[in-house]
């Protein structure tokens, strides 16, 4: 593993006497792109501000670039840049705002102008250079904030929902460009987002936060299929989050769904206290009822309620076993379905996930 740019241990941040951030351990390697997701109020912005050495922490240890985060705050901060969740400008032109971090570092005027033009170009806002920053639209403001953060060529870039107000086309372009820029300059990026698509595109590692602490960490693909809690499952867009009861009998473990109307044999370890069963929409297969199937498969029959078209994957809402289920089916399977039609389908119980 490369040297850690961020190394946190036991850091606790209090706001108005309330513990809002409690990170037992977090390491982010140099050049890594990492995402942070979590519901509102989870402490994502607080985490970024703490890493940016803007908030005092009472306990624990925070090292940036291998140096103690209690000393030399200014020098460490100047190696980082942060895009805040809300655009914050001083009263002045876009140029003046983007120039500010460079002026604060006492760079010569010619260098400042050249760098600003390059970076505004990169974020498609050269035409805004003489506009009043406080009068920009939400998306324009976000782009200028990104430009202002990147202009001083930080080693560590902290992004707090940078794409929240951008239209899908701009979003996609910027995401790609930002990723290229980060890779070209070996920049480390911490990226807070609510949009799982962005997270999947941008990073290989995601941190999931809830109530001020890190509850899950890993590849985004895993978080999507195996979320650690109901809140994360919802955040990650899990298709089916079904209330359930667990039963351990002599025949094996069982999951009871739909107030006990439906039972799944679950020959695996069951987590204690799980109350929900997650079924990703793409685990279902349409069956031919006459054909014999693997006995391990769970086989259900239901009625089609709605067919929502999509590119490649259709979403099909089915009522079965007293449950409303969202299935994701390939276009060739779903396109001919009609509402009210009876549907036989099955899935492998190993794909279900209990939380």
């Amino acid at each position: 593993m490369k040297a850690a740019v961020i190394d946190m241990a036991g850091v606790k941040v209090y706001r108005e006497e309330k513990l809002v951030l409690d990170v037992p351990a977090l390491q982010i390697a140099s050049g890594e792109l990492i995402s942070v997701i979590g519901p509102n109020g989870a402490g994502k912005s607080t985490l970024l501000q703490t890493i940016n050495l803007l908030l005092p922490y009472r306990e624990g240890r925070l090292r940036l670039f291998g140096e103690n985060g209690q000393e030399n705050l200014l020098a460490l901060r100047r190696r980082c840049a942060m895009v805040f969740q809300e655009p914050l400008f001083l009263n002045g032109t876009v140029f003046a705002n983007v120039a500010l971090p460079l002026r604060l570092r006492n760079l010569p005027g010619a260098v400042i102008t050249e760098r600003i033009m390059t970076v505004l170009d990169m974020f498609h806002c050269s035409h805004l250079v003489n506009r009043q920053a406080l009068r920009l639209s939400g998306g324009e403001a976000k782009r200028v904030c990104l430009a202002r953060a990147v202009v001083c060529e930080p080693e560590l870039l902290l992004l707090d929902e940078p794409f929240a107000a951008l239209d899908p086309a701009t979003r996609k372009n910027l995401l790609v460009e930002l990723r290229q820029a980060a890779e070209a300059r070996a920049m480390t990026v911490v990226f807070v987002s609510h949009n799982l698509n962005d997270v999947l595109q941008f990073t290989e590692r995601v941190i999931v936060m809830e109530k001020g602490t890190i509850v899950q960490e890993g590849h985004p693909g895993k978080v999507i299929r195996r979320p650690a809690s109901r809140a994360i499952a919802e955040l990650a867009g899990m298709d089916n989050i079904l209330p359930c009861k667990l039963e351990k009998t002599v025949d094996g473990n069982q999951i009871l769904l739909g107030q006990g109307r439906s039972t799944i044999n679950y020959p695996f370890e069951m987590p204690d206290g799980a109350q929900h069963c997650c079924l990703p929409g793409d685990i279902f297969e349409i069956d031919d009822p006459d054909q014999l199937k693997d006995a391990d498969q769970v086989r259900w029959t239901g009625m089609v309620r709605q067919v929502i078209p999509g590119i490649g994957v259709f979403q099909v809402v089915v009522e079965a076993e007293g449950l409303i289920l969202n299935l994701r089916l390939a276009r060739e399977q779903a396109a001919h379905l009609v509402i009210g039609q009876v549907l036989h389908f099955s899935f492998n119980p190993a794909e279900s996930h209990l939380i």
């Binding site: 901060r77 805040f84 001083l90 009263n91 604060l104 009043q132």
Partner: protein
């Protein structure tokens, strides 16, 4: 009505011919109140900034004192400053009683809380995260404070004007610690009071108009500079 008009004309005449006594009184008023305002800015703006940016246990108490101080009766301030400065008082050895310096001291005591309170409000109404944003962009503590002051300049200018307006128009403290000595500590307000006491209503009115014009001119200059800077930004 007649006499008001005559007072106005007399005021214009006195200013036009540059009546030496009036000119001297006007200049002293400007000098004394200007200096007092400047001192109050040096005390009040940092205090307001500090109050706006820090949270500590006694803050509400301190704030209530500042707000209370914004309405200090000038006569009471005059009395306390007199007690400090008179010959047998704790600061008596400096011989400041009945000098312009004494008026400056009293007026600074009056204006400092006004400027501190309004500066607190001006800085406090900025988005709180702006400070973090400036720090994050690599500003030192001092640079951050300076940027915040620049962002709050409209409110701070209003604070300065309120402070100046408060002291240039007060009479109680100037009278008590200055003594309205002709050619030494006579300012526009004390001169007006004196002329009224003597029954010279016309001259008193004329002095009042001069006072109004002086106060207006200063405020107008500040307002103008405010607006032109806003247009610079636009």
């Amino acid at each position: 009505m007649e006499s008001i008009w005559q007072g106005f004309l007399e005021a214009l005449r006195l200013l036009a011919i540059g009546d030496p006594e009036v000119v001297q009184v006007v200049l002293l008023s400007l000098q004394v109140s200007g200096t007092a305002t400047a001192i109050s800015v040096v005390i009040g703006v940092p205090l307001g900034l500090w109050l706006a940016l820090h949270d500590f246990r006694g803050k509400p108490v301190l704030l209530s004192f500042v707000n209370f101080g914004m309405g200090l009766p000038p006569v009471v301030v005059g009395l306390f400053v007199s007690l400090l400065l008179w010959r047998y008082g704790p600061l008596g050895m400096f011989g400041l009683m009945y000098t312009p310096v004494a008026i400056v001291v009293a007026q600074a005591v009056i204006a400092s809380p006004i400027i501190a309170g309004l500066s607190f409000a001006a800085i406090g109404s900025l988005e709180p995260k702006l400070r973090l944003q400036f720090l994050s962009l690599g500003a030192t503590g001092l640079q951050t404070n300076w940027l915040l002051i620049k962002e709050a300049r409209l409110g701070l200018m209003a604070a300065v004007m309120a402070g100046f307006g408060g002291v240039v128009s007060e009479v109680g403290a100037s009278m008590m610690v200055g003594g309205n000595i002709r050619g030494e500590t006579r300012v526009l307000t004390t001169a007006t009071v004196m002329e009224v006491g003597r029954g010279n209503y016309e001259l008193a009115l004329a002095l009042s108009f001069v006072l109004l014009m002086v106060a207006y001119s200063v405020v107008a200059v500040l307002t103008y500079s405010q607006n032109s800077r806003r247009q610079d930004a636009a």
